[in-house]
Amino acid sequence: MSEQRALSRRRLLASVAALPILAATADGASISGTMPWSPFAGEPPKPVNPLGWYFFTPDEVVTIEAVVNRLIPADNLSPGGKASGCAVYIDRQLAGAFGQAQRLYMKGPFMPGLPSQGYQGDLTPAGRYRLGLRALNDYAHATHKRGFAQLAPAQQDAVLAGMDGGKIALRLKPGFSTKEFFEMMLQNSMEGFFADPLYGGNRNMASWKMIGFPGARYDYRDHIDKHNVPYPRPPVSIYSAEG
């Protein structure tokens, strides 16, 4: 989602369309006497390149792949988080607008808040992962003398459950708790698993097939009054045909 580009394109569109009757006084984004429509000129999403890493270091890659594979383990219902592309998904998100906190209010002063006031730390999501994954590995080394990725699956589960349940405190920083880090990894993993495949996860629409979500379909008029009858068609994604 290149928001910058979308904005400047819109600015351009608005001004071009308005040129003939542009009020000389105000600036380019003035529109009068016309509907500045431009069919099919919108900002389609760009599918991520599935190769390589844009944000994570090699150490981080191994760690996050281990995490997503425990949060979403491979079993007879679906492939695991790693094979589904969740780590790639998170990598691309952290390399982009989300990772840089472009949406967020990031002005200080940064002070501890109440849970009802939400996250109050000064780290961007990218910064939180950088610190969090290192702290997770430090914890694994301190307790098991090995990196998180080298632990047995049951040990990995125990560490994650401890973070989830507030029983393990990683060395993070004030305003960014271990529980917050865990929730962030869980949320982002599920995003990768269930989002449209164009973002790098949900390979082959495996999660949609698993739960019976038809994906990017846009018209259910033929099924609205078929009550208690499973929807018959397979999922589609934004850029693929039926999977």
């Binding site: 600036d27 003035s30 509907m35 999403p45 219902l77 967020l104 994650l160 869980l186 739960i211 929807y231």
Partner: protein, 587 residues
């Protein structure tokens, strides 16, 4: 120095739902109007493309169409004893951004508040005695049902609302809402088709003696041409509705109902990506002379106008008034001042049922695909023996089955690791829910003002929200949860969960973008910021349009009433104010 521009008859701040209505009505009356909108231009074929609108991550999770807190944030706290902190991301509510405002990505549940809401104080005093309202700042809105009803009609016909009348000119119509106030004619289009869950809900509550009816919907059941000649299409139940724009021209918004006509008018000009910083008053503070705005390049302009109409969304309306010193700040200690007063929200709770052997297809949905019962809303039931006032609509609305955020699982299920997938598969297609959308009544300590510490990108103070659910509303909501529990029993679900409201409003999980009050309408300038025509008592060439005018919030979504107030205020401007500018009401 700001560049001075030629004067206009009217300057509109924000081109969202209300801004578009005001622009349309004022230009129709011949006024030369400029609207100044902070966000980008947006239209259906360019920006709401059916080839990629159905992208949950982009629109629902990363919130592409919404206002970014980096542009304008707010601070919040539950009580005056706490320090307000900025909402670094919006969560509990999601303000709009850009042409069409929040109307681009709303659900479209389109209600009329009741006669007993507009005259709530008189009504409750007569039925239960004024003492029952102790501790609540309930007051009449200054406008009566008979005055405002034609404006509701205008908004519904503009939008093409799909629904079924329950009370036609005083005659109760079976199948509609028997508790609604008398309407002059039926809805413009028939109700939507119903999927399984709302159908089952209606059947089960009807058997229990309640009065279900199709939720009035701005997702249209059929093609429609509105009075402006703008054509809308039939809703496809796509399930990418709220948080998304409609690619099918089926959801009423400024784009689908007004802009194709408005944008062609020679006496209308729109400036996008221009943020209004403040309304400038004449030296005596009694008249507005212009607004100052800043464009995307950072250049400041001063746009003079005879009338200034603030249509920036309820919360931003209040901030704009405070930054511009229009009216006096409300003080919760002394009770003096009017701007910021009677801030209200919505008090929700919900039930979810997990079945065996039922299949609901939750992804077949729409922002307003559902059934409602109002048997426990407002004052439809006797509060005599109860320990609270107010109530809520009970709604079974199937909006979506988008899986990143909508994966209900039975209580106690794991959220990750072994076991969560099985629980997710079981819950996804075989559960249904319904919820109570409870009223929110004003109390002394819930209010809006400017934050003393945090500022926006231009260095101006952020709005500060001080809010918690009042005890009255918590008791009301617990009563509603009890009703949800009772109602759900005969459904025969394997497991049912019912949530219960707690003190401590949490800014993180989404609740509703139904922020009301802060610049309320009324009959007395000591207790309201605007008069019954939404005209500022203090600066009479300023009109403030939106849910900011609500003196309390009912157990219904606000925009039907917001749209009606917009038409009502526009009518006052075009038929009364321009003939004789000045105060429309003598206090």
């Amino acid at each position: 120095m700001a560049k001075l521009l030629p004067k206009r008859d009217a300057v509109i701040i924000g081109l969202g739902w209300t801004g578009a209505i005001l622009a349309q009505q004022l230009t129709e009356a011949g006024l030369n109007v400029v609207a100044i909108e902070r966000g980008p231009w947006r239209d259906t074929p360019t920006d709401f493309n059916v080839a990629y609108m159905q992208d949950e991550l982009r629109y629902a999770i990363r919130k592409e169409l919404f206002l970014k807190p980096s542009v304008e944030a707010m601070t919040m706290r539950n009580t005056v004893a706490q320090t307000a902190m900025p909402m670094r991301d919006y969560g509990s509510f999601l303000p709009g951004d850009g042409v069409g405002g929040a109307g681009v990505h709303w659900n479209g549940q389109t209600w009329r508040f009741w006669s007993s809401d507009f005259s709530i104080r008189s009504h409750l005093a007569q039925r239960y005695g004024a003492a029952r309202m102790n501790g609540l700042m309930l007051q009449d809105w200054g406008v009566t049902w008979n005055e405002i009803e034609p404006s509701f009609d205008k908004f519904e016909y503009l939008c093409g609302i799909s629904g079924k009348a329950g009370n036609l000119k005083g005659r109760v119509v079976p199948g509609g809402n028997p508790f609604e106030s008398a309407r002059s004619r039926d809805y413009p289009t028939p109700p939507m088709k119903m999927s399984y869950a709302p159908t089952l809900f209606a059947q089960m509550v009807k058997e229990q003696g309640y009065h279900p009816f199709p939720t009035p919907s701005a997702n249209l059941s059929t093609a429609y041409v509105n009075p402006l000649g703008v054509r809308m299409g039939q809703c496809t139940y796509c399930g990418f509705c709220e948080r998304f724009a409609c690619g099918n021209y089926s959801k009423a918004s400024a784009q689908t109902t007004i802009l194709p006509v408005l944008m062609k008018k020679p006496n209308f000009e729109l400036r996008t990506e221009c943020e209004v910083l403040k309304v400038n008053l004449a030296p005596d503070g009694k008249m507005a002379k212009s607004v100052t705005y800043i464009d995307a390049k950072g250049v400041e302009y001063e746009q003079p106008g005879d009338i200034v109409v603030i249509c920036a969304y309820a919360l931003m309306n209040v901030r704009m008034m405070l930054l511009s010193k229009i009216g006096a700040q409300y003080d919760p200690v002394t009770g003096q001042g009017t701007v910021g007063r009677n801030y209200c929200y919505q008090t929700g709770s919900g039930a979810r049922m997990f079945f065996e052997g039922k299949h609901f297809n939750p992804f077949i949905g729409a922002g307003t695909l559902g059934q409602t019962m109002d048997d426990f809303n407002g004052d439809a039931f006797d509060h005599g023996p109860l320990d609270f006032l107010g109530g809520g609509g009970i709604n079974c609305v199937v909006t979506n089955g988008r899986p990143i955020s909508n994966r209900p699982t039975a209580p106690g299920s794991p959220r990750w690791g072994a076991g969560w997938k099985k629980a997710t598969i079981e819950g996804y297609n075989s559960s249904m829910g319904f919820s109570a959308q409870g009223s929110s009544y004003p109390v002394r300590e819930n209010y809006l003002d400017l934050d003393p510490t945090y500022t926006d990108r231009h260095g101006r103070p952020l709005l500060r929200i001080t809010f918690d659910f009042p005890d009255n509303d918590i008791r009301m909501s617990h009563f509603m949860s009890d009703q949800l529990e009772k109602i759900s029993k005969p459904f025969g679900a394997k497991v049912t969960t019912v949530s219960r409201a707690k003190k401590g409003w949490d800014a993180v999980p989404y609740q509703s973008t139904h922020n009301t009050g802060g610049a309320i309408m009324g009959g007395d300038p000591k207790t309201s910021a605007v008069n019954k025509y939404l005209q500022s008592w203090d600066v009479p060439n300023v009109f403030v349009i939106g849910a900011s005018a609500f003196a309390h919030n009912a157990g219904m979504n606000p925009t039907g009433t917001v749209g009606a107030l917009a038409f009502w205020a526009a009518q006052a401007i075009t038929t009364k104010y321009i003939k004789s500018p000045g105060k429309l009401v003598r206090a």
